[in-house]
Amino acid sequence: MDFDGLIPQLLNLFASAMLILAFAMLSQRRILRLIHLFTLQGLSVVGATLVVAWVTGQHHLYFSAALTLLLKAILIPWLLHKLIDRLNVRWDIETLLNIPTMMLVGIVLVIIAFNLAGPISQLSGSIARGTLGIALACVLLSFMMMITRAKAIPQVIGFLAMENALFFAATAATYGMPMVVELGIALDVLVGILILGVFMFQIREQFDSLDIRHLEKLKED
């Protein structure tokens, strides 16, 4: 069997898995499942990074894959689990649009992203340039997830998913960012999630709910 031919195809598979997970997150009603999907998305980023590292022989990508695995597939999901246990919100999420509509808007976003990425990926010489469109689509989909959710935790997960997608875009287009930048972003995300966790407790203490629409009327009446 043509083994060498299969490895770049594996990259396409991981990229498609990311896209499908982005859609699954968009349509997910339960917070617990959302966290599981986020973990899976982290794992497919790790897989894609490993494939790029293997094919191109860029050793620093192994480190960033390990960092991603540690942070986005283990540590942050664990923190999120802790958080929803403490806040006691495991189940339902309100969406501002109904789900079939979001799916259709999602398709439009994917078409836009693919068209946008077409000319850009012509310029890149990387083996993964075809997947840039998928990475861009994932960014847009995560962004839409942040917009269409009313509660704080799904918004945070949307933010993290967007970071995943951006990381994947960087890997796909330019074989990853310099190590210092990557470490910095990883720490930023970690600190961000800690601060947002504290924020969530504060929001709930203030309004007895995690619905961030309450934040719109901060003025005293």
């Binding site: 069997m1 043509d2 031919g5 299969l6 195809q9 594996l10 396409n12 598979l13 990229a15 498609s16 896209l19 499908i20 859609f23 349509s27 789900i99 079939p100 799916m103 259709l104 999602g106 398709i107 994917v110 078409i111 693919f114 990425a117 075809g130 997947t131 469109g133 998928i134």
Partner: protein
């Protein structure tokens, strides 16, 4: 056209007519095993058909001739669909009659006839079932078409036989687009064949039933034909799934001996597919009818994404 082609064509239709109830029986058997019940036996659908064909057919007074004609039309559509789908061989003399798009149309004709016949007798359940059937049908159809478009884009043809030949001959590669299309196809076939996440084939509860509500007024040989047609539809969908997503082992043109390989391969794949279907049906609960649009929107989305990914990645 050689005699082997006609042989494989006739064999395909006879095999579908004979084996469709067996597939039904096998799925029920697997479901019973998984649910810890005693199964009624794998030949139960045959006994049911035998019983129904020997019973008198009672028809409502208000029913028009359309009501009598509908079972024959539905049965004819499904038998023709089984003749078009490449089950054993890709050399089918009937296949130029209809490509993948016409096949979707064929299923739609059957759906329209059964729905009109259900409304014809004027009962409340009939029109309720007909409305639900059309509701699900109009959502499932675009998804099914999109699945076929994905396969057609890869193989550059809408004729089912050339799609299957092309896919069977491609060297082994990972096709994310086909994976998406495969999942979408599974969702659509659950909806179209009234299986568990969408409809429970074993229930007669008026709040939930879809397929059973359509055929409440039928009895005797008409009911037998409709039940047989439902089994044929499931068989046709299984064959389509096998032909599109794991076509290995199917016989090619000008090779009568390959049929001998294709037959056990089909049996094996069919048995595995039926067991998986039973497993999914056991593990999942029937969803509320207003969740069905969401389910089918997901199927449509997956199929469209499959197409888009094919354009982007070229695989």
């Amino acid at each position: 056209m050689s005699w082997t082609a006609w042989l494989s064509q006739i064999l395909a239709i006879v095999l579908a007519l004979a084996l469709a109830p067996l597939l039904m029986g096998w799925i029920n058997q697997c479901r019973a095993w998984l649910q810890g019940r005693r199964a009624p036996g794998i030949g139960q659908p045959y006994r049911l058909l035998h019983k129904l064909f020997h019973k008198e057919s009672v028809i409502a007074e208000a029913a028009s001739p359309f009501f009598r004609a509908a079972p024959y039309v539905v049965f004819g559509c499904m038998a023709l669909a089984c003749g078009i789908v490449p089950t054993l061989s890709t050399e089918l003399p009937l296949s130029p009659a209809a490509d993948a798009i016409a096949l979707v149309g064929l299923f739609a004709v059957a759906r329209v006839f059964i729905s009109l016949a259900a409304m014809d007798s004027g009962t409340a359940f009939g029109s309720l079932g007909a409305r639900r059937e059309m509701f699900i049908g109009f959502l499932a159809e675009p998804a099914l078409l999109a699945v076929f478009f994905t396969a057609s884009l890869i193989s550059q043809s809408t004729a089912l036989t050339s799609i299957v030949e092309n896919l069977a001959h491609k060297e082994f590669a990972i096709y994310p687009s086909l994976a998406f299309a495969g999942i979408a196809f599974c969702c659509v076939s659950f909806a179209e064949n009234a299986r568990v996440p969408v409809d429970n084939p074993a229930t007669h509860l008026e709040l939930t039933m879809i397929h059973e509500a359509l055929i409440l007024e039928y009895s005797g040989r008409h009911l037998a034909l409709i039940e047989w047609a439902a089994a044929l539809k499931l068989f046709a969908y299984s064959c389509l799934g096998i032909a599109l997503f794991c076509p290995w082992g199917i016989a090619e043109a000008e090779d009568p001996l390959a049929l001998l390989v294709a037959l056990p391969a089909l049996f094996g794949k069919m048995a595995a597919g039926g067991a998986v279907l039973a497993l999914i049906e056991t593990l999942s609960a029937k969803m509320r009818i207003f969740r069905v649009p969401e389910f089918l929107a997901t199927a449509f989305l997956l199929a469209v994404i499959g197409m888009l990914v094919h354009f982007l990645l070229g695989v």
